[in-house]
């Protein structure tokens, strides 16, 4: 009978740590999969305006990004405070936008090349002049699908 005798009361069993590696791996995998790598360090301030009638940009593989905004503090001494265009991780002139977009489109698989959208991430304090120049460039290279990327919210908050 003593074989099946219960342990003495009051003594805590040791917690098994055999599963700890699994838990750690699980967390690791989880973070590995949900983390989006920022492909470029932002060189410009990029506070987007708000809009309520937005559409989601699905299918990330067919989007080309263009950032516009005031250079961040670090770069203001060199580049001034006027809004600049950022393509990948360097500043660019308006005249380079067309070539950049064409280059990015050419990198994509053939079958989605004519479905590419250009996402314009433009700081809300930028002037329309630079935006109009970019649009002109995009028209020149026939990349006509654009998306004025915004945050979702009340559009009238922009005016404050």
């Amino acid at each position: 009978m003593s074989k099946f005798k219960k342990k003495k009361d009051g003594e805590l069993p040791p917690v098994s740590t055999a599963s700890l590696p699994d838990i750690v791996f699980m967390l690791l995998f989880f973070f590995m999969t949900v983390t989006v790598m920022k492909d470029s360090e932002p060189l410009v301030d990029n506070e987007l305006p708000k809009a309520s009638e937005t559409k989601k940009l699905e299918k990330k593989d067919r989007i080309v990004y263009i950032y516009v905004g005031k250079p961040t503090e670090k770069y203001q001494r060199v580049y001034g405070t006027e809004a600049k265009i950022q393509l990948n991780d360097k500043f660019a002139n308006v005249s380079e936008v067309g070539d950049y977009v064409l280059e990015e489109i050419a990198k994509k698989p053939q079958e989605i090349q004519n479905a590419v959208t250009t996402s314009l991430k433009i700081d809300k304090n930028a002037n329309m002049g630079i935006v109009m120049d970019i649009k002109e460039q995009l028209r020149k290279v026939n990349a006509l699908k654009v998306n004025y990327t915004t945050y979702e919210g009340n559009a009238f908050d922009n005016l404050k």
């Binding site: 305006p49 433009i122 329309m128 559009a155 005016l159």
Partner: protein, 207 residues
């Protein structure tokens, strides 16, 4: 022989399975945040050979000045009223009954000095180079809102149990099955034909 004292070891062999189960669960349910914004088509660069003359009454002129003030049809207008004015213009249906352009679904005032019918109505947006981008986006947003309001109304009238915006979102959702998409496409196209979005940012010729 069983140990004396102390609890028996908990079997941890299935822990890995539980871990993988959780991992797969999170993988499936987590959606990475997607960007959203206002979709626009730019006009192609080629100039039209023949100059299309558009009647002044079919053009809804919106001008944004450099300090963010709004001139709608040559009238200073606060931004909050832009949507209502755009809706009134698009929905006007001014063409007389019996004429080929007569719009039988319009609920507007049928003012002969405003747009003939939604298919002909054009919104012309002009802005200064110094206009702030935030104001521009707000104006764009209000104009898109005007179109969406009318399109949603049509979706309801045609007896679809979804609004136009819902259908559009469903259509661009990757998880929507193909057969549903086909059906949605037809409906979306039908509504878009009733209220086509004609938002011009180029110079428009007036008559």
């Amino acid at each position: 022989m069983a140990r004396r004292g102390g609890a028996p070891e908990v079997n941890a062999g299935s822990m890995a399975d539980i871990a993988f189960l959780l991992l797969i669960f999170f993988l499936v349910t987590t959606t990475i945040e997607t960007d959203a914004g206002l979709d626009r088509m730019l006009p192609p660069l080629e100039e039209l050979d023949e100059q299309v003359l558009i009647k002044q009454r079919n053009i809804f002129e919106v001008q944004v000045s450099e300090d963010g003030q709004l001139l709608v049809e040559e009238e200073l207008t606060p931004l909050t009223e832009l949507k209502a004015k755009a809706v009134a213009f698009l929905d006007n249906g001014g063409a007389a009954q019996g004429s080929p352009n007569y719009c039988d679904y319009c609920k507007g005032e049928r003012d002969p000095d405003s747009s003939d019918d939604p298919v002909k109505a054009i919104i012309s947006l002009k802005n200064d180079r110094k206009t702030k981008y935030s104001v521009y986006v707000t104006v764009q947003n209000e104009l898109v809102a005007a179109y969406n309001e009318l399109r949603n109304r049509e979706a309801k009238r045609l007896g679809y149990n979804m609004t136009f915006t819902e259908m559009d979102a469903e259509y661009s959702n990757q998880e929507t099955p193909d057969d549903v998409k086909e059906k949605l496409k037809i409906r979306i196209k039908k509504i878009q034909d009733l209220f086509p979005m004609k938002l011009s940012e180029a110079e428009t010729n007036k008559n």
